[in-house]
Amino acid sequence: MTLYDIIFYLFAVITIASAFVVVTTRNVIYSGFTLLFTFFGVAGIYVLLGADFLAIVQIMVYVGGILILILFGVMLTNKITDVDIRTGTIHLLPAAIGVGILFGALTSVMVWTDWKTEPVEIPITTTYAIGKELLTNYVLIFELLGILLLVVLIGAASIARRDKE
């Protein structure tokens, strides 16, 4: 039981537990905030996997961006006045069954497959490599994402903005 393992399990527990809360709690605000922990957990896992840069991005984009966005969503789509914002649930049974089976399938796959593994060597830092890759092999995708963001910008704006009538 090395330190590595302990940290791993720690993050694992955080991630899963919080994620569980996210999808089960009836209060939207709660789940919104618990999602924060999930993201943190995932970021931690990234670190364990030696993807430091990615972990940072995860925290910045998810926590700093998406989560805020979501919370805004929550706020904007509810009366601020009412204290706790509850939401109902549907399809519990089919969800339980379907997800159960799916989970079973996935885990078995994950466990029984002999994945393509090789002796691991962890690079010191990934930032440089990532930057290089982004601008050479993945330059096309990189640019495309730029355009995508532009389109999304336009789209989101034009949908969300209040029409002047």
Partner: protein, 695 residues
């Protein structure tokens, strides 16, 4: 006059009436007087036929004149050989005599009708149809092949249909016409199949070719059974046309037509066509076939006679007597007395026509009263009609010095001989019984109509003798019922030219094994062509049978007449009491053996019901099976109003029904809740994963 001229003339005779028909039917509306044209045409035709008959009998007595042409050329057909369909005419003695008879009677009827039908609202149409009939009848007479026979066979059917239904606004008339046609069709189908058998085997319709083939032992499908079948089947045509039991039921109803029509078609000519047909195929009849024919004929004549005993409608009586006489002729063909059958055909044509026209004259005088119970004493009012009527009655009753006596006597002798030769004694017995009955009911008719006291004075007072256009024909026909035209010797026809020279029993062509031994075939022919060629055995049996037959027939006829007088003239026996005594029998006879009822109950309604069932089947099951069946649709629709709108929507149809069902199922999936869809997606993934595991 050459043969070609002769055949040309016959063709002219054949087509003259058609020409008349066409002209009158097309222009009749515009020129009402055209009926005279029609009459003129017939007169010409008659004169020509006399000429033809004379020249044929005088110059070509023993030569058959045949002229024919290719109608349909199919040529060398695969697997079938050369097939060409010929039409053509054959003129032999029988033909010319028939030509004469038909034209004569037709002409007389035309003339008679001028007065009788006067004032009818479809006067010209009537004459046109008469012309059409004459044409068809002549066609039957002249044809030299089965196909043409069948064609004209149907055409006479048509014209008889039109003429019976002349007064179609009378439902009974329309019904009678329909009945006549359909009942005849039944017979025709048999005839048609018979023809098919012959054609399939011989690839020709021509009589002589077929007979020649048979005589060389080439019989249909090499089985005598088929030959017999062919004979009987073709004979079925005759059963229909000549109103033989069990298809005779149409003839009495046919009396709904105008009386002259009954005289021409349903007494003298068309109904005799059946007999004529059998004479044509006589030579290919096997023993079994002949026996069948004889029995049918005999039985028919018996049935008809028994019915005739009690009928009270003057025309019905005559109708049944016609049936009975036709039965005689058929019977006599069956027993091989070919010549006498034909002879009787001719004589009967004359006196029966006379009787019908006479009855027509009576009805005319009595203002369309037909029930003899309302007549009586008319002989003072209608002396000429009475005289002619009486002569014909004597003739039909078979009293010496009449033509009827000669022919009937011959037929009876033939049956007797047949009985002796083959042991079928029942046939002569029936024959003689009928002879007695005939005499009885005919005289009953005469007495009730002309003798005694008038029963309906009102009508009686207005009755008066018909004008000459009507009486003239009667006289002619009555005259022709005297023996002198046929033979010098009033007791035996054999001496007469008619039998001695003109008409001969043709040689049978049936193989030895399947014919009566008394029938002679060409191979055994001893004397030159044109002599009577019965085997010696048969000839001597006929001689043996001649006098007994004569005696008995005279005796029985006398008895019949005597009883008639006892019953109705002198009232020694009360008919009604007797009737009540034997009520069962009486009603049986009065109601025509309940045959019509029986047919209605079985065949007719059976067919109709079956058709109803089938049509139900068609709507509900066949259509239904494809249609998802209306009732099922409605049933479902009760389950769900969804289907209701569905049915109303006019998509009652299996595909749509089924499709609607599936669609309905699919629709349930489309809930509009996106999360439900996602559930489906998840399950879809799982299912795909489970079902399409890699190999």
């Amino acid at each position: 006059m050459t043969e070609s001229v002769l055949s040309t003339l016959s063709l002219i005779i054949l087509f003259l009436p058609l020409f008349g028909f066409t002209v009158v039917i097309l222009l009749g509306k515009r020129f009402p007087k055209l009926y005279l044209f029609e009459v003129a045409i017939l007169t010409i035709a008659f004169i020509l036929s006399v000429v033809v008959m004379y020249s044929k009998l005088a110059y070509y007595l023993n030569i058959d004149i045949i002229s024919s042409f290719n109608w349909i050329t199919i040529g060398a057909a695969p697997l079938a050989g050369v097939i060409n369909i010929e039409l053509g005419i054959k003129i032999d003695n029988v033909t010319v005599i028939m030509l004469f008879v038909v034209n004569l009677i037709s002409m007389l009827v035309h003339i008679f009708s001028i007065e009788y039908m006067h004032g009818d609202q479809r006067y010209t149409r009537y004459f046109a149809n008469l012309g059409l009939f004459t044409f068809s009848m002549l066609g039957i007479v002249l044809t030299h092949n089965l196909l043409m026979m069948y064609i004209f066979w149907e055409l006479v059917g048509l014209s008889s249909y039109l003429l019976i239904g002349h007064w179609y606004e009378k439902k009974s008339a329309a019904d009678a016409a329909k009945k006549a046609f359909i009942v005849n069709r039944i017979g025709d189908i048999g005839m048609f199949i018979g023809i098919l058998i012959l054609f399939t085997h011989y690839k020709t319709f021509t009589f002589d070719t077929i007979f020649a083939q048979i005589s060389q032992g080439n019989i249909p499908f090499n089985s005598e059974a088929w030959l017999t079948a062919a004979g009987i089947l073709v004979f079925m045509g005759a059963v229909g046309k000549s109103a033989q039991f069990p298809l005779h039921v149409w003839l009495p109803d046919a009396m709904e037509g105008p009386t002259p029509v009954s005289a021409l078609i349903h007494a003298a000519t068309m109904v005799a066509a059946g007999v004529y047909l059998v004479t044509r195929i006589f030579v290919m009849l096997t023993a079994d076939a002949m026996l069948v024919i004889a029995v049918v004929g005999a039985f028919t004549s018996l049935v008809a006679a028994t019915i005739a005993l009690t009928q009270n409608d003057i025309k019905k009586v005559l109708a049944y007597s016609t049936v009975s006489q036709l039965g005689y002729m058929i019977m006599s063909l069956g027993v091989g007395a070919y010549v006498f059958a034909f002879f009787h055909l001719v004589t009967h044509a004359f006196f029966k026509a006379c009787l019908f026209l006479g009855s027509g004259s009576v009805i005319h005088a009595m203002h369309h009263e037909q029930d003899i119970r309302n007549m009586g004493g008319l002989r003072k009012k209608l002396p000429l009609t009475y005289a002619t009527f009486l002569i014909s009655t004597i003739a039909i009753s078979g009293i010496p010095l009449t033509s009827g006596f000669l022919s009937k006597d011959g037929i009876l002798a033939g049956t007797l001989a047949f009985g002796k030769l083959t042991g079928h004694w029942l046939i002569p017995i029936m024959g003689f019984t009928v002879a007695a009955m005939t005499a009885f009911y005919m005289f009953r008719l005469v007495i009730m109509t002309f003798h005694g006291e008038p029963r309906d004075h009102h009508k009686y007072d207005h009755a008066h003798e018909s004008p000459w256009v009507m009486v003239g024909p009667l006289v002619v026909l009555a005259a022709l019922s005297i023996f002198i035209w046929y033979t010098p010797n009033p007791l035996s026809p054999d001496a007469g030219w008619f039998m001695k020279n003109w008409v001969k029993t043709p040689n049978t062509v049936v193989p030895e094994s399947s014919r009566f031994e008394f029938m002679q075939s060409a191979s055994q022919e001893t004397e030159v062509h044109g002599e009577v060629v019965h085997s010696p055995l048969y000839t001597e049996t006929m001689h043996w049978a001649h006098y007994p037959a004569m005696g008995m027939s005279i005796l029985l006829a006398g008895l019949g007449i005597l009883f008639a007088f006892l019953f109705y003239q002198w009232k020694k026996i009360n008919a009604d009491n007797l009737a009540t005594k034997i009520k069962l029998l009486y009603n049986f006879s009065l109601n025509k053996w309940y045959l019509d009822e029986a047919y209605d109950a079985t065949a007719v309604s059976g067919t109709l019901n079956f058709s109803k069932i089938l049509s139900w089947f068609d709507n509900k099951i066949v259509d239904g099976a494809v249609n998802g069946s209306a009732w099922l649709g409605r049933f479902i629709s009760r389950l769900s109003n969804l289907f209701d709108t569905f049915v109303v929507d006019g998509l009652v149809n299996f595909t749509a029904f089924f499709g609607g069902f599936i669609g309905f199922a699919f629709r349930k999936l489309q809930t509009g809740k996106v999360q439900t869809y996602i559930v489906f997606v998840v399950f879809a993934v799982i299912i795909l994963l489970l079902f399409f595991k890699p190999f």
